[in-house]
């Protein structure tokens, strides 16, 4: 009797470890396991965790492109090298495509963790740029609500720390192979502009992607 109870208990524990997150959208267990490989670092609901940025609501083609660029060691930011290069070394394009679609369909939540006093300045730079400093409008490509389009990423609601790090590292010489014109645009941004943009964007709550993002 005791042995049967133990077996039932072990079976219950093993079954509870199945990917319930994946079950919500009807994915098979294999993809579910891959999703969990991502959510270890990107947060159980894919909203971001620590240095791992939010994946929820990101554009499909952007996610696919970044996975390909990690795999090819093209995107070489320090944390990319440390975490994403090993994470993607066994990933194939078809699986990447499925993962990208899965994450893109999750509703993004804004991090709301920027510096509130810089939001006004950040909004102005985001919308109209700063032409006197040769800074272009971010909104022209990334959209009025930071939603992105096609392979241009959604920025709205990403964490202040991630946006700041991403913009700063372009000026430190990382990820120069990124799609133009981002490295050059970043080169026009000083620390104040970066803090302002990252602050403003961290509060931008966009609308979830359509079924076909």
């Amino acid at each position: 009797m005791k042995l049967i109870r133990w077996k039932i208990a072990i079976l219950a524990i093993v079954c509870s470890a199945l990917p319930s997150l994946a079950g919500d959208v009807g994915l098979d267990a294999d993809v579910g396991a891959r999703v969990r490989n991502c959510t270890w670092c990107h947060g159980t609901s894919a909203q971001g965790y620590g240095p791992g940025p939010r994946l929820a609501g990101q554009r499909v083609r952007y996610l696919e492109n970044q996975l390909a660029r990690f795999f090819a060691h093209a995107r070489d930011n320090p944390l990319s090298q440390q975490y994403m290069w090993p994470a993607t070394q066994a990933l194939n394009p078809l699986a990447a495509h499925d993962l990208a679609i899965y994450f893109s369909l999750l509703a993004p939540q804004a991090a709301n963790d920027g510096m509130k006093e810089l939001v006004g300045v950040g909004a102005s730079i985001y919308m109209d740029g700063a032409p006197e400093n040769d800074i272009v409008s971010c909104a022209a490509c990334h959209g009025p609500n930071g939603e992105g389009i096609g392979e241009i990423p959604r920025l709205g609601g990403l964490s202040f720390a991630y946006l700041k790090r991403r913009l700063t590292e372009w000026n430190e010489g990382f990820d120069l192979a990124a799609g133009p014109p981002m490295p050059h645009i970043a080169s026009r941004l000083g620390p104040y502009e970066i803090d302002a943009l990252a602050s403003y964007l961290s509060f931008v709550q966009g609308i979830p992607n359509d079924v076909m993002p």
């Binding site: 394009p93 032409p131 022209a140 192979a177």
Partner: protein
Amino acid sequence: MKVIGLQLALPAAILAIAISLAGAASGWGREKAARVRVHPEGKIAYCMDCHGMGGQGYHGYLIMPRLAGQTPEYIENQLRAFAEHTRGRGLFINMARVHGLSPELRSSLAAQFRSFNPRAFGGGPRNAADTGRKIFEEGVPEANIPACAACHGPEGQGEGQNARLAGQLFPYTVNTLKNWGRDRTGDTASIMAPIARSLSQPDIVAVAAYMSNLH
């Protein structure tokens, strides 16, 4: 100011080789990217951040049109129209501000873009190209629409204040023709207003597709 330096640096910049890594149909390569772009100096770099490295245009959330090979008079007229708010009102960005340039700088930049000639952006449906070519070369007589080529040049290369159309982005041309009266209200725009209004939607798509592939 440093126009001559730019004219030397720019071909080098445009010729910089980029290895595309993302989404290749044959799977992913393992080559380390060696894409180091030499960006031009000066104000033209600011224009190219949106309008593309060679001025070929860019399809972001907004569609930034091709400036390469455009007639200087047309560019200068548009820059003035943005400044005077006879074009570009109602967009979520302040078009007058992002295009704010002194008249001298307008002339200088327009002259630089005239000399660039990257490939046509394309993007239009190819099955409409034949109909599009007919409209471009012969107009639509039953709707009193003149041939585009009559004013815009037999190859769409533009003439004076009549814009170059060759290689223009397909969705940009479609949007421009559909929204003419709402978006452009200045004097230089008035001649196109009845033409844009008379074109049917399939005609717009066809002629825009044809022109998007013209080199």
